[in-house]
Amino acid sequence: MPAVSMTVNGKAVTADIDPRTLLVQFLREHLRLTGTHVGCDTSQCGACVVHVDGTGIKSCTILALTADGADVLTIEGLATNGQLHPMQEAFREHHGLQCGFCTPGMIMAAVDMVNRKGHDLDEHTIREELEGNLCRCTGYHNIVKAIAAGARAMAKGPGAAHQADKAAE
């Protein structure tokens, strides 16, 4: 079995794996990082979104071996020093989740969206950019609100989501 090495949430990891192991399987089964979810088998739902070298990708669609040497960030690595990431805070503050299953992928996709599109996201942009993530619970209404607020808060750094919301009220 070939060896794979990568950095996951800032930690170097190495393992011998079956070459057909998908990145999501590697994260969930080898590293027991079960926050990244699998909701479909056609790369449609986005529950598995993680960041690879700073870009949001669907971890069900690449082999772990493809990510050899990469820097991977999962939902478990998003909070820093026990402080929630502004996007995590925004999802809670705006009730952007119900059953929680699509949430890790939504939050990782949202952070990626901000990284690509900036901090001032209008509703139309957010809805278009969420094309790759399915949620069956929320009707997206509060996810859209959460992402707009989280994007603004990210401009101010960790812990800023709540203050940004207060300011917006």
């Binding site: 479909c40 449609q44 809670r92 059953c99 069956r136 009707g139 997206y140 209404h141 996810i143």
Partner: protein, 789 residues
């Protein structure tokens, strides 16, 4: 109202784990020595299983066992059942065919499991599953409910001639006929209520674990009702005695009805774990979910509404064929009957109603409750008829509704239900104001100027929730009672655990239930935790569906809290050396009336357990009380949704440009959570109206078998919603709650179709109203604009 009490939009306690990736869903759980299951499913809709050759698969690396239906039968594992008895018009019982967990002899739909491979790893199980040879004798199939009863249609189950499960009716045929005879106008519609795939984003999963030393089982399962799963698997499937089976429903990623039912895979996981002596884990792939999760809706209906000269309804008659699929799922029989025809009165005073329903088998995935379950179908019938009736009679649709609204409560409908409270004028009025109904004409002209057709549609829906009084459902054929249980455990330090038989899979019970308890006991919400989803912890419960957790589940908590308070007062009386009758409990304090003597909640809790201040003969130590609460009636949430659309006559594409929802849910505990439920419900209703539809080809292949083919609502298919409320409290439970979980899905389809048909001036728009379907409807009325070459 306190910051965390009843009525406050408290941020959810459960969110911390979900936003940090620390939820515990079934697939996140792994057991020592665990094996993995991969099912071999029938590729044919209808086929005899001639033989299964497992030899090659058994020799594959890592394979522990290959098991088939013959072995299941040999181990005397019982069939899955439908737990609601429906009798036909002629008095005969419904025709429930055998539903083994692994098909034996015959497969009846594509996806019917016929064998399972158990292996060391999932990859090995899947590899081996491909080597299992199944020799089928393919039989003709029937998938269309409208053709299932035809002469010469393929016969699916011997006990059900013409594939007919029951021929049921409700209401007074003669009185209805008389109403029609007196009518000035009759509106007639034919429609198909499209078949839907629930598609909770978490696929179903199960881990079965047998302990040979204890001769007991544990099942981790994606279920909305773990106790009901245990009861059925124990009492009917006969896997284990009830006290030897523990069912755990950990975090569950959405249900929408599809996780109520008892499915073959969980039975097989348990059975296989005993066979192989190791835990067995199965997680559905999405393509398996499409082929094995119970689908929803799938009605073919002809309906007629009769009106007098003033547009007052004088009768309604409905004839529906309901497709229940290849087998009768757990509650399937009740959906097109007592959860459908009983709601056909809508919000209207209709003197007579008659409804006939034939339920049929077809070679398709079983059909059962999906968000709303029967009530969206009923609302669609009523709200389309009233809208079209108004258009045909030249009456404003809002005014047509006003003319027919029920105004006095309680109101006995001709179809069993007694509505206990409501104000339908109020919700309509508020909805029309917020939607700016008056300004619609101006907006329509504006749309016209840039080449779009604009339409507006109303849906004044009603539902029956909080299901339900046990005696009532028992008299209608239910095999279970639909009460709920709660236990309030006060710890010596004063913190509280609430054990509930409800199950939260997105509804936020950990927050809402804690709000109720925190306010009642005057303790911080952080000091309250909610325990659910484990048959070893919670004694019994009926689970969460039918918008029942607030109305029924919280009523049980209130009852248990009453008992806790009564007991705590006795303890406080001893502690404060006062008469029990003089103790007053308020804001977390026990006070002696007319004095300044008081004891804090925590002091009383501690004294209940140390029991130093009273004799154990006089008063039992401890502070823990349980209650079972059975409601006195169904609840009747109702409201009005207004949908506004723009249709592009070039492409037929519909864009929802406005949505107003005014709902009456009675008392609301957490408005943030309730609004979230409304949003999600609307999205599913819009999905049904515009996007979603399970399609089978004539051979019974599900051609919409993945997210590539089945169109789920995405963020860019939906608008933001304007959601508001009116309140009439429900008199049938102590809190006045009506329930909110299904409203959106019930109201939305009719609102959307009413809006599109208004826009294009044709009633012939099917669901889903895809661009192609709307364009074809436009073309028929000569409004389709040819696209520039």
């Amino acid at each position: 109202m306190s910051a965390t009490g009843v009525g406050a939009p408290v941020r959810r306690k459960e969110d911390q784990r979900f936003i940090t990736g620390k939820g515990h869903y079934t697939d996140d759980i792994n057991r020592p020595g665990q094996t993995h299951a991969s099912f071999i499913r029938s590729p044919h809709a209808h086929a005899r299983i001639k033989c299964i050759d497992a030899k090659a698969a058994s020799a594959m690396p890592g394979v522990v066992a290959v098991l088939t239906g013959a072995e299941l039968a040999g181990d005397k594992i019982g069939n899955l059942i439908c737990g609601w008895m429906i009798h036909s018009k002629d008095g005969s019982p419904m025709k429930m065919a055998a539903h083994p967990a692994l098909a034996h002899g015959k497969a009846c739909h594509v996806g019917d499991p016929v064998a399972v491979v158990i292996a060391e790893t999932l990859a090995q199980a899947k590899d081996a599953a491909e080597k299992v040879g199944v020799d089928y004798d393919v039989l003709p199939a029937v998938v269309d409910p409208g053709k299932a009863q035809a002469q010469g249609a393929p016969q699916i189950h011997e006990l059900a001639p013409k594939n007919t499960i029951y021929q049921w009716h409700l209401g007074d045929a003669k009185a209805t006929e008389a109403g029609f005879a007196s009518a000035k106008h009759v509106t007639k519609l034919d429609f198909v209520n499209n078949r839907l795939v629930p598609n909770a984003i978490e696929p179903r999963a199960a881990i079965g674990e047998y302990d040979s030393g204890m001769e007991s089982f544990v099942l981790w399962n994606t279920t909305q009702n773990p106790h009901v799963a245990r009861l059925v698997i124990a009492a009917f499937v006969g896997m284990a005695p009830e006290h030897k089976l523990r069912v755990i429903a950990p975090d569950v990623g959405g249900g929408f009805g599809s996780k109520i039912f008892i499915y073959p895979e969980e039975v097989v996981a348990l059975w296989a774990s005993r066979r192989v002596g190791r835990p067995v884990k199965w997680v559905a792939e999405r393509s398996e979910s499409f082929l094995s999760d119970a689908h929803g809706r799938d009605h073919v209906t002809h309906a007629e509404m009769a009106f007098d000269a003033d547009g007052k309804t004088v009768g309604l008659r409905v004839r529906t064929i309901a497709n229940l699929g290849a087998y009768m799922s757990t509650f399937s029989s009740s959906i097109p009957t007592y959860l459908y025809a009983t709601l056909l009165s809508g919000q209207y005073d209709i003197p007579s109603i008659y409804c006939e329903v034939d339920a049929v088998y077809t070679n398709t995935v079983p059909v059962d409750a999906y968000r709303g379950a029967g009530r969206p179908e009923a609302t669609f019938v009523v709200e389309r008829l009233i809208e079209v009736g108004a258009r045909e009679m030249g009456i404003d649709p809002a005014d047509m509704r006003r003319r027919n609204f029920i105004k006095k409560f309680p109101h006995q409908t001709p179809v069993i239900m007694t509505y206990d409270a409501g104000d339908y004028h109020a919700s309509l009025k508020k909805a029309l104001e917020i939607a700016d109904y008056k300004g619609f004409g101006k907006r329509k002209r504006e749309s016209g100027r840039h080449g779009k057709l604009r339409g507006i549609g109303l849906s004044s829906y009603i539902e029956a929730c909080g299901i339900a009084p046990s005696q009532a459902v028992g008299s209608l054929g239910a095999g279970v009672g639909l009460w709920e249980s709660a236990e309030v455990r006060v710890n010596p330090t004063g913190s509280v655990e609430i054990l509930t038989g409800c199950h939260s899979h997105g509804q936020g019970h950990e927050t809402t239930f804690a709000q109720l308890v925190s306010e009642r006991l005057g303790i911080p919400i952080e000091n309250v935790s909610v325990v659910h989803g484990d048959t070893d912890k919670v004694q019994f419960g009926m689970g969460t569906y039918g918008s029942r957790s607030g109305a029924v589940g919280m009523s049980a908590i209130v009852k248990a809290l009453d008992k806790v308070e009564a007991k705590a007062k006795k303890v406080a009386a001893h502690l404060l050396e006062a008469a029990e009758g003089d103790i007053v409990f308020k804001d977390g304090k026990f006070m002696v009336a007319g004095t300044d003597k008081s004891a804090a909640w925590g002091d009383v809790a501690l004294n209940a357990y140390i029991a130093h201040k009273f004799s154990g003969q006089e008063l039992e130590p401890g502070l823990k009380q349980g209650a079972f609460s059975d409601p006195t009636n169904f609840t009747s949430p109702a409201g009005c949704h207004v949908c506004e659309v723009e249709v592009d006559p070039d492409t037929g594409r519909t864009e929802i440009v406005g949505w107003t929802a005014i709902d009456d849910f009675g008392l609301v505990i957490n408005p943030m959570i309730v609004e979230g439920q409304v949003h999600g419900g609307i999205a599913q209703g819009v999905g049904q109206a515009l996007l979603e539809g399970a399609r089978y080809d004539e051979d019974g292949q599900l051609v919409t078998g993945s997210f590539m083919d089945y169109s789920m609502p995405r963020a860019d298919n939906l608008p933001s919603f304007s959601v508001g409320m009116t309140v009439t409290r429900c008199p049938s439970n102590p809190l006045g709650i009506k329930g909110c979980g299904e409203a959106g899905a019930i109201a939305a389809p009719a609102a959307v179709i009413n809006a599109i048909t208004d826009a294009i001036g044709s009633e012939a728009v099917p669901m889903p109203a895809t661009s192609a379907a709307v364009w074809m409807a436009l073309e028929k009325v000569g409004k389709a604009r040819a696209t520039a070459a």
